[in-house]
Amino acid sequence: MSSATPTPSHDEYEARLSELVDGTLPPDEQRALEQHIEGCETCQQDVAELRKTVSALSGLHRVPAPQNFDQEVADAIRRRSQGRFFGRRTLGDRVPFELLALLALVLGLALYFFLRGSDTGSLRPFDREPEAPAIHEDAPNVVPRP
C-alpha cells in the first residue's frame, strides 16, 4: 500500500491559482503547482490573465471622502440626537477660559475708571463743600410789600 498523497486534479490545481498569483502558497505546494502549470496550457493562460486582472484592480486608487464629509457626519449626529451631541458650542467651548478671564478683568477695570471719572459716579470721593447759592445786591425784591 502506498502512503503517498494522491496527485491533485486539474480543478484542485486551478482553484489555487489565485494564491500563486498572491504569493501566499507554501513553498512545496507552489513548486507542485508550477510543475502542473508547465504542462497545462489552460492553467498557463488562466494564470497570465489572473495576473493581469489583479494588476488592473490594484491600480484602482483610494477615493478620498468629499470635503465637507466630517461636518456632515457631525450635523447628522446632532440632528438625530436632537442636539445632545455635536450641538452648537457655547462661548466657553470656543474661547479659552484664560482669555475670557482676562477680558472680564479689562472690562471691569474700564468700568471702574469710567465711573470714578464720572461727575455722577457713585465711586467718586466727596472732597468739596457744595457751593452756597450767590446773592446779588441788585436782585429785584421779590417779597411783596405789606
Binding site: A15, R16, L17, S18, E19, D22, T24, D46, E49, L50, K52, T53, V54, A56, L57, S58, G59, L60, R62, V63, P64, A65, P66, F69, D70, E72, V73, A74, A76, I77, R80, F85, F86
Partner: protein
C-alpha cells in the same frame, strides 16, 4: 489593539466629540473608498459612509477590543455595504418592474455599454479602465465584491479579511478566486 487605538476607543466610549472628529478624519477616506468601490456611486457611497460613522458613534460600547479597531470599522462598513446592495437591488427590481409596465425595453448601464474612447491618451485610458473595472466589480454579487475590494483594492492580508468577514480562510480564498475568475472573463476584451 495598539496603545494609541486603546486610548482613542476609551475617549470614544466617553462620547468625547473631539476624539470622534479625530477618528472620522483618520478613517474617512478608507471608509468612503470602500463604500464607493462597493456601490459604484458617489452619492450612495457618501450617504452610506455617513451611516457607518453614525453607527460607530452609537455602538462604540459594543466594541470589546478583541480585534484591531480598524478591523471592527471595516466589518461595520462591509456589513452596511452588503445590506445597502441588497436594498438597492430590491429597489432596482421594483423600479424596473414599474418601468417595464410603462415602457418596453431600456435598462441601466452595463459593462457592455462602456465603449472605447476614440482617441485614448494615457489619462483617458486610465479613467476608462477605472470605469470598466468599477462596472465589472458592480456585476459581482456582494459576497464576492467585498473580498475583491478588500484584497485587491484595499490590499489587506487574508488574515485581516478573515477577521473582517468572519469567514474561514479556505472560504475567503476559494470565493476570492471565483470572483477573480469572473472578473477576468468580464475584463478580457478590455485588457
Amino acid at each position: 489593539m495598539s496603545l494609541r487605538e486603546g486610548r482613542l476607543v476609551r475617549r470614544l466610549k466617553d462620547r468625547d466629540e473631539k476624539a470622534f472628529r479625530e477618528m472620522v478624519e483618520e478613517y474617512r477616506d478608507r471608509v468612503f473608498s470602500l463604500t464607493y468601490r462597493m456601490l459604484g456611486n458617489r452619492e450612495e457611497a457618501e450617504d452610506l459612509a455617513q451611516e457607518v460613522f453614525i453607527t460607530l458613534f452609537k455602538s462604540i460600547d459594543s466594541f470589546r477590543g478583541d480585534s484591531k479597531f480598524s478591523t471592527w470599522l471595516y466589518r461595520v462598513t462591509a456589513n452596511h455595504c452588503k445590506n445597502r446592495i441588497k436594498y438597492l437591488a430590491r429597489r432596482h427590481d421594483r423600479d424596473r418592474a414599474e418601468l417595464t409596465e410603462r415602457v418596453v425595453g431600456g435598462g441601466g448601464a452595463t459593462l457592455a455599454d462602456v465603449r472605447p474612447a476614440p482617441r485614448p491618451d494615457a489619462q483617458l485610458e486610465g479613467a476608462q479602465m477605472e470605469q470598466i473595472l468599477q462596472f465589472a466589480i458592480a456585476e459581482l454579487d456582494e459576497e464576492q465584491r467585498i473580498l475583491v475590494v478588500l484584497r485587491d483594492v484595499e490590499d489587506l492580508s487574508y488574515e485581516e479579511i478573515c477577521a473582517i468577514t468572519e469567514l474561514p480562510d479556505g472560504t475567503v480564498k476559494s470565493r476570492l478566486h471565483r470572483a477573480r475568475m469572473a472578473l477576468r472573463k468580464k475584463l478580457l476584451k478590455h485588457m
